[in-house]
Each structure stands twice: as structure tokens, then as C-alpha cells.
Amino acid sequence: MSYLSAENLEKSYGQGQSLAQALGKVSFEVEKGEFVAVMGPSGSGKSTLLSLLGALNTPSSGRYVVDGLDIYALGQDQRADFRREYLGFVFQSFNLVPYLSLAENVMLPLATLRMGKAGKRALAAEALARVGLAGKEGRLPNQVSGGEQERTAVARALVNRPPILLADEPTGNLDQQNSREVMELLARLGGEGMTIVMVTHSRDCAGHASRLLSLRDGKLVGDGLPPLRVVEQPAAAQTAQAVCG
């Protein structure tokens, strides 16, 4: 069995007359270390799919198994624990907590762990250094640029070294320069064996991935290589100079 497998995942919102299917019976598998891009028109169910993969939403039907864990058979608390241990999230709108410094934002996933203050600080500093933000630990989110905020969000997703990274339009609010930096960062993580599922509107960004899932009206309509791919090896993506953003 694959590392991550979605079986007939279906999600409808509302009920009765207003029942609307956002995602209809989607099935696919992802191997460890894959970098998957998800593309599709607006409203095609990309965010819904990602929320289901993130154990944040409840499917109307279908099964979702990660590392042998049947996620939606778990209780609320175990799902939270799963998110903490397996997942890192990066969202479009940065999602930093405004009253916490960059370092404190990065430490958030560690807040519920029994670990010394110093240990947490060190992990946060290390993660921030990885995204090129060493020295800005004490800044508040509104004191740094959008690109730096997004990279902080990536650092937060990395800090507890989860095996899976889920990103919903991580470059949606960034200019080209910042988008490329974030994408290169993700590609590098992919190269290091992290499993990544990233929703994007940009074909250029999708070009950094090793695989592309296409959604339309809640249905999986394509599963193959991403566009503009010139090299086969995902590790080589970090050298790709595609313009993304």
C-alpha cells in the first residue's frame, strides 16, 4: 500500500436542496517523497481536497489512509495528534498569528509538546535559518515582508520535521521573486524526501513538482507529469529556473 491513499473521497456541503458536491469520489495514491501539485479552476475542489488530506475536514464518504492510519476512523483528538506528528501546513494567506514573533509562530507546533524552552527555541531558530530568516526571530509578522511571512509559515510547517507538507497556494499572495524563493524551498524539501501536496493556480509553480493532479468540478481529470518539466529527477527541480508566481 502506498504511503498516502485517498479512496473515493467525496465531500458535499449543505443539505437537502442546497446540497452541493465540492469533491466527488476522488481516488489516488501518493508515495513517500513525491511532490504533487494540484491544479484546477477556481471552485474545482482543490482546497476541499487539501483540507481532507489535512484531516481538517470530514469526507461525506470515502477513506483516507496515511502510513496505515485510517484517518477518518480516528477521533478528534487523534486527528489533531496526527496533524501534529505527520503534517506541516502552508496556506495562501500566510496565517501567522499576529501577536507572536516569527520565532514564536514557528514554535507553535511545539507548544503542546513536553520540551524545554531552550530546545524549542533552538528548533525554531534552525527552521528559520533554513528558510533564510536567521536574525529576524524577534520580529512580529507585520514587521516583515509578505515573502518573509510565507517563508516563516514554511518554517513553522517544518519545525517539528513532519513527513508530509500540505500547501494551499503558498505563492498566491507573493510577487515573482518571493514566489520563486518559496518554490525553491519546497522543491529542496521534496528533494530531501518530504512528501508534498501543493495546490496552485500557476503552471510555473506546478513545474517544480514531480507530479500533477488536475481537478475539474470536483473530479480528478488528470494525473501525470507537470507542465514545463525538462528534467526527470525531482531533486533537480531546485535548479529549475522556471518563473513562478
Partner: protein, 390 residues
């Protein structure tokens, strides 16, 4: 960084948001502290007065005649005749169950005497024999021009001195005996003004009532003496006497203060309720505003209980601060308004550990209590929907 740090950082870096809850709570606590503190200060003042007030139990011979009162004795020509109480029997008062509450037992012997040298000029006057030591406790307001009577001396009440023309240092003839006047009692506004006073033994001899007393005043000193119990205890050992509790004016005031205290507690409860509403509404607003943030917490692996703990930590820290601030503000306000309620100057609210503790408990109960629902709401937020709020 742990959950408490998150709460602390939020409060520290978004002071404006915290200020509302803090103010709502602190005002409630301050009102409670000021009102209850005032009620307490006034109660203590009055208790203090009660202790100084003097006799609060009166023992008179049981009589089938009209009520035997000071007034009754004062009416000239009223025949004073009744059985008396034996002084010996009073020793029993020392053995009653609440004997430790008895501060003084003041036996009093009363009787009419003839004042003046010659029979035609002679006036009738009422002579009281008193126990001097007990009198100091029983009549703390007595001020004497001159001195207390020594053996074979007389002291005159203010009115008696005026009518009989007596002054300290003069002599007066009582029942044919010339005795020096040791002092004159300053006006008291009571029946004491019309009496002549001698030491108990002297008076008993002069009146021919050796070993007998006409009435006994007892001072039970303490703030919540079981006066009624003591009355029945004394009645038991003095079956031939009538024992009454004096309902004093001060007691009436104490009653008033009790009402004020109930009022204070009532208002405090009301203010606590309003404070709860302020906290509830403000916290709910805060939670709504922080929906996206809570979505992030959930996404990165906070359990529901963790989210709840962050909110409750905030409420706890705010409540502690509000309890402290409210206590200090309430003490200040109470102290400032104390002179409006009490006659004495320099009165102070004083430190009561229970009031400080009560303030803290109230702040915590209101602050945490009314944050429970918002915290629960926060914990119940659907993480997917919460993230969509961003």
C-alpha cells in the same frame, strides 16, 4: 513556549483587546470590595460602640406593680416598695455558662432619703448606691466634676446638685448625717442626673437595706454576645428577679448596617452579573475575531482542549490582574467614601484577608466562569471552516 505563554503574549501584545475584559472585571470587583469593605468598617465601628455602650442586661425584682423603671422612680411621691434582690445571689452570675462574656455586674440600691438639716426645709431625694468599679464599665460616659465618692461621701447628679444647691467640697445632710460632697456628675441627660450617689455599702446602710439591691445592670461585652441566652441563664439563677435585655439605639444602627451589608452584597451580585456579561460578550467577540488563528492552532495539531486552555489561560491571567486591580481600586474608593457614612474621623477600611481573597475568588469565578462558553465555542470551531475565515 507553551500554551500559557501564548495566552500571555496575546494579552501583552494586544492590550487594547484585553483592556475591556480587565475593566469589566475590575469594576465589578472594585464595587464589591468598596461596598463590602464599607459595610464591614461600619459594622466594626458600631460593634466598637456597642462594647462601650455599657449595660445591656437589666435585673429588677419581680414585681406585681406597674413596670419598675428609672422614670417610675423619678416621679416624686411614687411609693417605692418592692421586694429586693439579695446581693449574695448575684455571685451566681459568675457561674453562668456565658460568664466570660460578662464584663461587669453593677448592683444598684435605690431609696428615698431626706436631704437638709431641719425637718421643714428637708427635701426628698433618691439615693443610689453603686459599685464604683462596675460603674466605670457600665457608665463610661460619666464625667465627674470633683471625685468619685469615697466611703462616707456623696456624689450628686447634675440636676440633684442644682435643685439642692450642692457643689464639690460642700457638705450635705442626708437622713440626719452630714456628709461631704465629693463631686458632681456632669449632665448625662438620663435619670442619673436627678440622683445622689454613694458607695453601695454606705447607701445600703443609709437606706437600711443591708445586703439588698434594688436592681442590677449587667454589661455583656462582645460583638455577638448571646444576650438572649445570657438573659435566660441569669433568670435561672435568680428566679425571683426579672431579667431583661436592653434594646439599644446602637443595636438599631447595627440592624441598619446589616441591611446595608445585604444591600452591598446584592449590588455586588448585580455588578458581578453585569461583569460576567461584559466578559462573555467581549470574549465571544475576541473568539470570532480570532477564528482564523484558532483554525491555524487546530491545523498545526492543537487538540480542542489545547485551544480551550489557551482561552482559559487568558481568562485566568486577566482575572488575576482584575482581582488585584479591582481590590486596590475598591479599597481606595471605599476609603475615600468612608467619611460620608461614618461620624468618626480617621476611620479606615482595614485589611481583611477574606475580602482580598473574596475579591480574587470573585474575579476568578466571574472571569473564568463567563469565559467557559467562549472557550468551548473556540474549541468547537471546525478547523476547515475556521481557516476559510482567513
Amino acid at each position: 513556549m507553551n500554551l500559557r505563554d501564548i495566552a500571555l503574549l496575546n494579552l501583552r501584545r494586544r492590550k487594547g483587546k484585553a483592556a475591556f475584559v480587565l475593566a469589566g472585571l475590575a469594576i465589578g470587583v472594585a464595587t464589591m470590595v468598596a461596598l463590602v469593605g464599607l459595610a464591614e468598617a461600619l459594622t466594626q465601628q458600631i460593634n466598637h460602640k456597642l462594647e462601650k455602650y455599657g449595660a445591656n442586661i437589666l435585673i429588677t425584682p419581680r414585681s406585681d406593680q406597674l413596670a419598675l423603671t428609672y422614670e417610675g422612680l423619678n416621679l416624686g411621691g411614687f411609693v417605692f416598695e418592692s421586694r429586693e434582690i439579695r446581693q449574695e445571689d448575684l455571685k451566681g452570675i459568675e457561674r453562668i455558662k456565658n460568664a466570660s462574656n460578662v464584663a461587669a455586674v453593677g448592683p444598684l440600691v435605690l431609696g428615698a432619703v431626706r436631704v437638709g438639716q431641719v425637718a421643714e426645709q428637708a427635701q426628698q431625694a433618691l439615693l443610689a448606691g453603686v459599685d464604683l468599679e462596675a460603674s466605670e464599665v457600665l457608665k463610661p460616659w460619666w464625667k465627674i466634676e470633683g471625685q468619685w465618692p469615697k466611703p462616707a461621701q456623696v456624689m450628686a447628679g447634675h440636676e440633684a446638685a442644682r435643685v439642692l444647691g450642692l457643689a464639690p467640697g460642700q457638705e450635705v445632710e442626708i437622713n440626719g448625717k452630714r456628709l461631704p460632697v465629693s463631686g458632681v456628675l456632669e449632665a448625662t441627660g438620663s435619670q442619673d442626673d436627678g440622683l445622689l450617689f454613694m458607695r453601695l455599702g454606705d447607701a445600703q446602710e443609709t437606706l437600711g437595706k443591708q445586703g439588698l439591691v434594688s436592681m442590677v445592670e449587667v454589661a455583656a461585652l462582645c460583638k455577638d454576645c448571646p444576650v438572649d441566652d445570657m438573659v435566660s441563664q441569669i433568670s435561672e439563677i435568680l428566679p425571683g428577679a426579672k431579667v431583661m435585655a436592653i434594646q439599644s439605639v446602637v443595636k438599631g444602627r447595627l440592624e441598619t448596617v446589616r441591611h446595608f451589608r445585604s444591600f452591598a452584597l446584592g449590588i455586588s451580585a448585580l455588578v458581578a452579573l453585569l461583569g460576567s456579561l461584559v466578559v462573555l460578550v467581549t470574549m465571544m467577540g475576541n473568539i470570532k475575531e480570532r477564528t482564523g488563528e484558532i483554525g491555524v492552532f487546530r491545523a498545526i495539531g492543537f487538540r480542542r482542549a489545547h485551544v480551550m486552555r489557551v482561552v482559559l489561560w487568558e481568562a485566568l491571567l486577566l482575572s488575576l490582574a482584575a482581582g488585584l486591580a479591582g481590590y486596590l481600586a475598591g479599597m481606595g474608593a471605599g476609603q475615600l467614601s468612608l467619611p460620608l457614612f461614618s461620624e468618626g474621623h480617621g476611620a479606615s477600611l482595614g485589611f481583611h484577608p477574606w475580602l482580598a481573597g473574596g475579591a480574587l475568588v470573585m474575579a476568578l469565578a466571574v472571569g473564568l466562569g463567563s469565559s467557559l462558553y467562549p472557550a468551548w465555542m473556540a474549541a468547537r470551531l471546525d478547523p476547515h471552516q475556521a481557516l476559510r475565515a482567513l
